[in-house]
Symmetry: C2
Subunit: 112 residues, 2 copies
Amino acid sequence: MAEPKKSKQEDYHLLDEQVERDVADLFKAFSNPTRIKILFALKHRKLTVSEISEMLSMSQSAISHQLHELKLARLVKFEKQGRKVIYELDDDHIHDIFDLAIEHVKELYHYD
Amino acid sequence: MAEPKKSKQEDYHLLDEQVERDVADLFKAFSNPTRIKILFALKHRKLTVSEISEMLSMSQSAISHQLHELKLARLVKFEKQGRKVIYELDDDHIHDIFDLAIEHVKELYHYD
DNA sequence: TGAATATATGAAGAATTTTTCATATATTAA
DNA sequence: TTAATATATGAAAAATTCTTCATATATTCA
């Protein structure tokens, strides 16, 4: 507080830069094949760490690390059930962004 | 052609895997701060390589390399005007995905 | 409490990605 | 044709990201 007052234009500029950084982080979180596979899997249903680990044939540790990234980016949330941790997609936006991306590549490459 | 016929379920599975790979590629193309800055800039208007290079204070070569990636992912298209090459976002989906991402982070972090 | 199970995490090595540097290609202008 | 300008590109160096390995933490069960 008590900061020198900025012009509206300057404010917008800073705001844009912040949005830009956050969008960059969002897409970075989306950007690795393992994380995409995890998100695809979670699009169908909630899963525990070990279930994901088995589905992707990857070590528990590798999956945990990636889930950590996804948590930081708020792409997934979780609840604990006993010693299990059940992950799911965080919110509808994630579904929406994903659906739009799927729609895009389907139009782009029109498979089959 | 003349491939062994697959069950529908198997087909869907392969299709999903292809979609998954393509979505992964799409997000990977979106995933680096420099590329995000380029795309943000192109969201406003078409730009030449050197304009982008100046705007981001990055070398012409670095920008060219990143534009190359963006071209491969079909996120940008270009037209030549003399010795200049003018880049723009490839299609509406790119705008849409971007807008959704912006909306998402704005809701998530509600700035100001 | 001790053993078993599920997940998390720090650090190091492996792998991938990005930038730089040098130089090539293409276009225009003199 | 030569010089100047804009962009592209291959290879190496720099930076970042991902996985593994070892181990820690947390929970349940006997």
